[in-house]
Symmetry: C2
Subunit: 336 residues, 2 copies
């Protein structure tokens, strides 16, 4: 079985027209917050390409979340962020209901930087308990590059959310949204925010205070597995500190990195029991590599071509780790 | 010959006491800007450890610049940044005069975010023409994590400096300073700023406008060689664009990364003709790896243990690339 743990919604244009409308109107008068009618037929039509794609690369199940660069967390007023988040989560829930054997929902949270986390916790509960979602995205920078950000993910600021994640037994996938900085695209911001998130979490007491909390850092973990020597050196200075190479194994990572050499490095640094198969197909890597003619996000043959992986390693990556990190996923599967 | 292209000054405590004094007084009354007397004997005493260390790991020559996290670029008033920068450059010039066969100067620039680049250009000229320095540091974020930063290094904002670098035939080593963000240490900020710098430069016209400009990105180039798949994918979408794997070879990188697997990945991605030997010894990596008992910044045996490198590759890394990128270095060397 192949579970792609990192997918984002493919939705009809009507969905994004509604986002533009919400944004342009700022959600007032309230008549502007009337959702468009989107039929099951239209959803199916838009989904068809995605389902064909997944089948063509051997993916059995995909965990699907809202598309991060569209999350617009920093925009005001907060009510449009909340409405847009709930609307896109609802679209995914409908897709999952249409194709329960392939699509499983992962929620976005309405992370406005201008409010506390209570709306996020409420939406997480709704998505898990009512919509059958198995996890959520967590954006460490809801200011979207306009700073000042909330404290790092290692800070107690995030504890109410961590408590709820543990209670519901669902993980969070660290994923920033867009980025307004003229010198940093959102796609690069993802990577930098992942590095900041990893160091903040691993320098904190979070995993002592929440030993069963599960956090996934996608795209191979930003810069950190590649820069591990730097962080190991800092830890070695303190004889009582846990070595950084031990700490990195408190998190999970995914293969959504599009380079075989880098995925091999990741697996060597964190171990095959900490890496989930993830491709974000269709997404950033959905373009043919002119040297091979194959799409860069067709990662199953890439993993299979890593000769030193055992069958157990491959099972871990392709499905076992996903089931361990997303315990609620098991009930969605036909068979293992 | 082994040239360590990435070293930072080891200076007596009197030097840092002067920094604290400048900072506490804000440089006024002007009587506070009277430099301490530091004798050659004291400089030699402090240097001895560094020279012994370099000898012990087989380094013949080290390019030495001010210690980046001490550059205090964002602090006000600008005159203390300028005085501190000139003072530390002068200390390095004196060390280089005492040990011309080992120490070669690389300048810091007084990059106050509150002024234009004219003081930087003036100090660069002074260091190269009067002090015999062979290059300079370039901090992409003189706000030190307090944003808003200057535009990315691909922006014409930096062109007056690039013109002077080309005219003097000296390279710039991208290196941020400290970082005031509570969620990002300076050591992690280095890495993130390097990723931002690489993408900004390679998405710009800088190397069309300055074909002979030479820029080095240290620490293995932040996240980018590890995340190259992501940036290749974006470029492949545009059939007329230069592939990203070609663009990355417009920059130079160094080995100051402390992980053999990562250095191998860097060499595979950018080529041995683009990677300079650099250790920053003594610095972040100057601590024993408990698994080997060896200092993490003892990188010569690490490079030598990469079996697939040819003798030509090793020569490139250990000295040839340094001479190519720092043309003024040649006149400092006794022999090749």
């Amino acid at each position: 079985m192949v579970i792609d743990s990192h997918g984002h919604v493919v939705a009809p244009m009507e969905v994004y027209a509604y986002q533009a409308h919400l944004l342009a109107s700022r959600g007032a008068p309230r008549q502007h917050m009337v959702r468009p009618n989107i039929s099951d037929e239209l959803l199916e039509e838009t989904l068809k390409g995605q389902l064909d794609l997944l089948r063509s690369v051997g993916t059995d199940v995909q965990l699907v979340s809202p598309r991060p660069f569209h999350m617009m967390h920093s925009l005001k007023p907060e009510k449009i962020v909340r409405e847009w988040t709930m609307f896109t989560n609802d679209i995914i829930a409908r897709q999952a209901k249409l194709h329960p054997d392939v699509i499983v929902g992962v929620a976005a949270l309405p992370q406005s930087p201008y409010t506390d986390l209570s709306a996020c916790i409420e939406e997480l509960e709704r998505c898990v308990n009512e919509l059958g979602f198995v996890g959520c995205l967590l954006n460490p920078d809801p200011m979207e590059g306009e700073g000042p950000t909330p404290p790092g993910l290692g800070d107690e600021f995030w504890y109410p959310l961590y408590e709820k994640l543990v209670e519901l037994d669902v993980p969070a996938l660290v994923h920033s949204a867009s980025c307004s900085s003229p010198r940093e695209s959102y796609t690069l911001h993802f990577i930098n925010e992942e590095s900041i998130a990893i160091v903040s979490l691993l320098e904190s007491r979070v995993f002592e205070d929440f030993p069963t909390l599960k956090i996934i850092v996608p795209h191979g973990g930003g810069a950190i597995p590649y820069q591990i020597g730097r962080f190991k050196a800092w830890r070695y200075r303190d004889k009582d500190a846990e070595p950084f190479e031990v700490s990195v194994r408190k998190l999970y990572y995914d293969t959504c990195n599009y380079s075989k050499d880098s995925i091999e490095l990741l697996l060597k640094v964190v171990g095959s029991d900490r890496v989930l198969f993830g491709t974000e197909k269709p997404g950033t890597g959905s373009v043919a590599d002119p040297h091979t003619g194959k799409d860069m996000d067709d990662l199953k043959p890439v993993i299979e071509s890593i000769e030193w992986l055992t069958q157990e390693d491959r099972n871990n990556i392709f499905w076992k780790n996903a089931l361990a990190v997303y315990p609620r996923l098991r009930s969605h599967l036909k068979t293992e």
